[in-house]
């Protein structure tokens, strides 16, 4: 009989190996899925993991990795802080939208003035928008004990309505022939989050993501606030005994994750996307939850996981167009990744033993 035994100490080796094993298991199960759809599994998986990096058109796809990976990493870093402390911000998508709207709003307000300070102001506004949106569940939780999962999630839908209203109303391009959507910020130099090196995909959002990784790493490992976050997640009672204030932690974690999500939205709207439109958000805020866990809530892990997730996004698109795989199959494939990750995660704290059952 197969049993699970709790390890005396969490296994370091498994903690590192889990993501790799999960990716492998996803490839196998995904291969079976694609085979069931009548596709050659190797042919279906190869474009997902291989083409974007080393294929014929890699020169086009590699910059895309940065463009897609940066918002994921930026958002996931923020989420991981809260997740580590058991504070579940599920509404990063909404904070991402609000950040984009605030950032774009500032930019559009200055149009057509050209000045060096416009972009920095947009960055501040974007971060503020996300922070504000995440502070709503934070305030309600600390004041009334509401569940931050539900409140933050429902605020996503509010933000989506807000986005639709903005792109059809206040922020609509007056010279857009009645089409919904704002002016294209890519054509407004002072507000454009342009590539820092042309053709590299490297824009300010990528820089912000890297800074966030370093910031989170230092915070978690060297700073009292990070220690507080980890202690609260592991043993809330011990954290209170240590003298930490749970209210301040909730405000900090939700606020920070909201701010980073807002920044991601702002960099996206002023760069790769270029304009506020009804379908501006594409689910980065939700995918970042997967990225955060795939990276084991560790800043460096999240950096790698963000890259991997961007890869499956881009690769998924390739597989979809080249092999005519349904998009839902790709989504199942991405879902499997999280599923396997959580399943194998068990092995960090437990070992499988084959033998007679016993009750300790």
């Amino acid at each position: 009989m197969i049993r699970l035994e709790k390890r005396p100490q969490p296994s370091q080796a498994w903690s590192l190996a889990t993501p790799l094993v999960a990716v492998l298991a996803t490839m196998i199960a995904g291969g079976l899925l694609f085979a069931a759809l009548g596709k050659d599994p190797v042919e279906a998986i190869r474009p997902i993991f291989w083409e974007p990096l080393f294929g014929e058109f890699a020169f086009y796809y590699r910059p895309q990795l940065l463009v897609k990976g940066a918002p994921l990493v930026l958002i996931a870093i923020g989420l991981s802080l809260g997740f580590k402390a058991g504070i579940w911000n599920i509404g990063a998508e909404g904070q991402y939208i609000m950040g984009a709207l605030f950032g774009a709003g500032v930019g559009l307000a200055f149009y057509p003035l050209e000045a060096w300070y416009i972009f920095p102001l947009m960055v501040i506004a974007g971060g503020f928008g996300g922070w504000l949106w995440a502070s709503i569940p934070a305030y309600l939780k600390t004041r009334f004990g509401t569940n931050e999962i539900l409140v933050s999630l429902m605020l996503v839908y509010v933000a989506e309505q807000f986005l639709a209203s903005m792109s059809l109303g206040l922020m609509k391009n007056p010279e857009g022939f009645g089409f919904p959507g704002s002016r294209n910020l890519q054509q407004y130099d002072s507000a454009h989050n342009a590539e820092l090196i042309a053709g590299s995909g490297m824009h300010w959002g990528v820089v912000a993501a890297l800074i966030a990784v370093i910031f989170a790493y230092v915070l978690l490992n060297r700073h009292m606030v990070g220690y507080h976050i980890r202690l609260t997640g592991e043993a809330p009672r011990a954290a209170r005994f240590a003298g930490f204030n749970p209210t301040r932690l909730i405000l900090f974690c939700l606020g920070t994750s909201g701010m980073l999500a807002g920044l991601a939205g702002m960099f996206e709207v002023s760069g790769p996307s270029g304009q506020v439109s009804i379908d501006f958000n594409v689910g980065y805020g939700f995918t970042a939850i997967i990225v955060a866990f795939l990276g084991r809530l560790h800043p460096v892990g999240i950096l790698l996981a963000g890259g991997l997730m961007a890869l499956t996004y881009i690769g998924g698109d390739i597989a979809q167009s080249n092999l005519h795989l349904p998009s839902s199959a790709i989504q199942v494939f991405q879902g499997m990744l999280l599923f396997f990750l959580l399943a194998f995660d068990l092995l960090t704290n437990f070992r499988i033993s084959l033998g007679k059952p016993e009750v300790a």
Binding site: M224, Y227, E234, A235, A238, F241, V359
Partner: protein
Amino acid sequence: MTEVLLSLKGLTKAYPGVVANDSVSFDIGTGEVHALLGENGAGKSTLVKMIYGLVKPDSGEMTLRGAPYAPGEPRQARADGIAMVFQHFSLFDALNVAENIALGMENPPKLRDLASRIRDVSETYGLPLDPFRTVGDLSAGERQRVEIIRCLLQDPKLLIMDEPTSVLTPQEVEILFLTLQKLRAEGTSILYISHKLEEIRALCDHATILRLGKNVGECIPAETSASEMAELMVGSALTPPERGDRTFGEVALDISGLSVPSPSAFGTALRNVHLTVRRGEILGIGGVAGNGQDELLSVLSGETLTEADAVKLGKDPIGTLGPVARRALGVLAAPEERLGHAAAPDMSLTENAMLTGATREGLVKNGFLKWAAAKEFAERVINEFDVRTPGPENAARSLSGGNLQKFVIGREVLQRPDVLVVNQPTWGVDASAAAAIRQSLLDLAAGGCAVICISQDLDELMEISDSFAALNEGRLSAPRPAAGLTVEEIGLMMGGAHGMEVAHV
């Protein structure tokens, strides 16, 4: 000896890294109260779990009334007439007595019938209990009655009791003993697990002593002195802690008129608590578990805030200060629950040293953590308190209970407190480690620290405290000098029989 009811032969059970029971053999006679004596970790619990069918032995055999007996699960053991009262009750606070008992039965009768059976049994054995009272409102002694009655309804031939007196006042212990004696007179055998020598001498006919999983001796408790049994149990003569000469200074901690509402539905509210501790004094606070011990500790540690004047350090009000501010002032605490409260289970000892040591040991600078200094501090605790672990990088939960307790107490003691509050400092700790912890508390007091020791172990309190008070339903009795207190007086301070009626046997 009378006819043998249950006979154990060569029972062995090994867990990874430890042999819990090594070829243990003994017999329990019909109508005998048999004591199983041993320190924490001696293998008593594993042994009775094998008898009760919770654990399967690796080797060895048991015979019940001459027939081979190998229960696969507790249900089978119960069917064979073996019942067990666990140390930790498994009762639902929100349900009443009869509902709780019905939940544990295979085919529960109608509640009304069950209630009348409960009344019958409780009257027969002198355990008055109202079947329709909510368990959450019962005292620990009454909850134990629920568990005992639950067992007696099965009409058991062998009743196993795991440390039954650890939650009782001396008066309640007397009531329990009357019940057990009545059961014995009716021919029920009792396997009585304890490490309290005096009660074993008072109650038991026969004793088996376990040490490190081995049967190291048997004796007739009534004819053996407590110190002989203790030597068998511990393996060597213990040196009791030395009190040394201490002089009391000015008042260090002053609590007056402290009332705190209960933090949860079944918690305990503190009611008008007064106490003072002087420098160099150890105040022992006794009481049955659940009478406000945790709540009192959290008021003192700063986890629960009160009015400023309710808690004073010397003359300064500190009631509104949180744990960090109190630590800075020299008021330190060590809670009862080691894993999850005093220490984070999955964090390393270094990280756990940071948990309370950050302020006083200067482990933080501008919000940044000095891990090297924290590691040094953790190593100092490990060395000075003889914590058995490969090193400070190990997770707290990898340590045995006793070793982690030494770490938790050592972490506070080494921070040179002015006031130290400990709750159950030696709970689940083996005798030599317990002696070391008590000695460190005495040394601390000798150095001028005011110590408050909350404990349910009366022997411990009598050994180290200068004055004694007891918590009873959130009220603290007036402290009295510990020297000269009789067990009777202590029991009354703890609330006597807690409103329980005395048995009419």
